[in-house]
């Protein structure tokens, strides 16, 4: 598949340390934002418990939006190291900007199973 072929060859353009640093930065941003989302959602949900389902869904949407920006941050950082890669990085970015927020949104629905 085009996506996996490009991913396999990413090390021809970027060092492992550069890839790791980019991913770590994206993750740090995501976790920092996620902490805020969780704190706000838990506090508000306890006080307005009859709307807890709606709050969780809204928080989930914000979480997936945060994932979108985190992925953008990862590739923005990566491009700082080499902004003319030989692989089709734009294609990888397009796929990840759709796929990862969707995965995060679906994972964020799991708490609804326990409410």
């Amino acid at each position: 598949m085009k996506y996996f072929d490009n991913i396999k060859n990413i090390r021809s353009d970027y060092k492992v340390s550069e890839i790791v640093k980019s991913i770590v930065l994206g993750l740090i941003f995501f976790i920092i934002a996620l902490v805020l989302i969780v704190v706000l959602t838990v506090n508000i949900s306890f006080i307005y418990v009859r709307y807890v389902t709606e709050f969780v869904i809204v928080a989930d949407l914000i979480g997936s939006l945060t994932a979108f920006f985190s992925v953008k941050l990862v590739y923005m950082t990566l491009l700082n190291y080499n902004n003319e890669p030989t692989i089709n990085l734009k294609y990888i970015i397009k796929v990840d900007l759709v796929l990862i927020p969707i995965i995060v949104f679906l994972l964020g629905l799991i708490p609804l199973l326990y409410i």
Partner: protein
């Protein structure tokens, strides 16, 4: 990586302090208690009678959310919220943990379910063997370690089975020998000191009777859920009675209420009546039962009436002093909703929610 961080440094400088502040107020806990409207759980979801009679409607307990030691953010969201009641934690909370208080709630619920079962089975002349024990529901932190624990059954004090009299007659600073039976069956005697705390004298124990169904001819299952406390007793008793009776006392309606029950059928007072009433209104309950034991201002029904009159609701509020009054009220309702009408009503409920 550094380049990216430098690119966003202005955002970091501006947002870091509000971020830390919001997380802090969302996490740091303060010594208050907040009551907010909760949920109406169908009794069927936690008490299952095997092979029941059919009923069109349902019985629901009414629970509120009691947040002990809320965060600063929860406090700020609650102080201007007309549905919430904010109060300082009572002084005894210095000596108990939130976890122990929660365990006590679950034990009280178990007792409530057993009392409801015992009452309904007795009313319907089903065979059952019921025992009552004096259970330790809660221990306070000033009680010595490796001594009486939650779940122990109190048998006697100073060799007397009237342990309450013995404990009341003990002077501050003196000990009493309390004999307990552990859940394992071991019988042990402990010397418990009556300690001076906050101007009063206490043993550091909360002991109350616990009803246990030893055996019965009715098959049933109890399913654990997240709610605790004894205030669902009346609804539980009505549900069990209805499940074991051919007549459908629900008449296709959603019936909820609050009030403890004992094995004599007496309905006891409860707290958080405002939040429970609001919970019922938002959950489209048709009939709501409330304890009504006197005409004083502190009576649950009198308090509920005051709140009820300010609400725009078709829900019917009924005050009852005992199980028989509640049953008589349901018995007096004429007609039943048909299945078709019921389905249409419930669909409309979901759409308009």
């Amino acid at each position: 990586m550094k380049k990216t961080i430098l690119k966003f440094r202005l955002y970091i400088y501006v947002l870091i302090i509000p971020y830390i502040l919001i997380v802090f107020i969302g996490v740091y806990r303060i010594d208050y208690s907040i009551l907010v409207p909760g949920v109406n759980d169908s009794v069927e979801s936690f008490i299952e009678i095997v092979d029941p009679y059919e009923s069109l409607g349902s019985f629901h307990t009414t629970s509120v959310i009691n947040i002990e030691k809320p965060s600063i953010m929860m406090y700020l969201l609650s102080i201007k919220n007309p549905e919430a009641t904010v109060s300082e934690l009572p002084s005894y909370f210095d000596y108990i943990s939130v976890r122990e208080s929660t365990v006590m709630g679950y034990l009280m619920k178990d007792d409530s379910i057993n009392s409801s079962l015992a009452l309904s089975l007795d009313r319907l002349n089903y065979e059952s063997v019921v025992n009552r024990y004096n259970l330790v529901y809660l221990t306070y932190s000033y009680l010595a370690e490796d001594t009486i624990e939650v779940g122990d059954y109190v048998l006697k004090a100073n060799d007397s089975t009237d342990f309450r009299l013995e404990m009341n007659n003990t002077v501050c600073g003196e000990s009493v020998a309390i004999t307990v039976q552990k859940p394992s069956g071991d019988i042990i005697t402990y010397d418990i000191l009556k300690t001076e705390i906050d101007g009063g004298c206490y043993f550091g124990l909360y002991i109350k009777d616990f009803t246990d169904i030893v055996s019965t001819s009715v098959e049933y299952n109890i399913i654990e859920n997240r709610t605790g406390g004894p205030s669902g007793g009346l609804m539980q008793a009505l549900y069990i009675y209805n499940e074991l009776t051919e007549k459908d006392y629900t008449h296709g309606l959603k019936i909820a209420g609050t009030g403890t029950i004992n094995t004599f059928g007496e309905v006891g007072s409860i707290g958080a009546i405002r939040q429970k009433l609001l919970t019922a209104v938002t959950n489209n309950i048709d009939i709501f039962f409330v304890p009504h034991r006197s005409d004083s201002e502190s009576d649950n029904y009198i308090q509920a009436l005051e709140i009820y009159e300010s609400l725009n609701t078709d829900m019917i509020l009924v005050g009852v002093a005992n199980f028989d009054e509640a049953l008589a009220y349901l018995d007096s309702i004429e007609g039943d909703l048909s299945w078709n009408t019921l389905i249409i009503l419930r669909i409309l409920e979901v759409i308009t929610k």
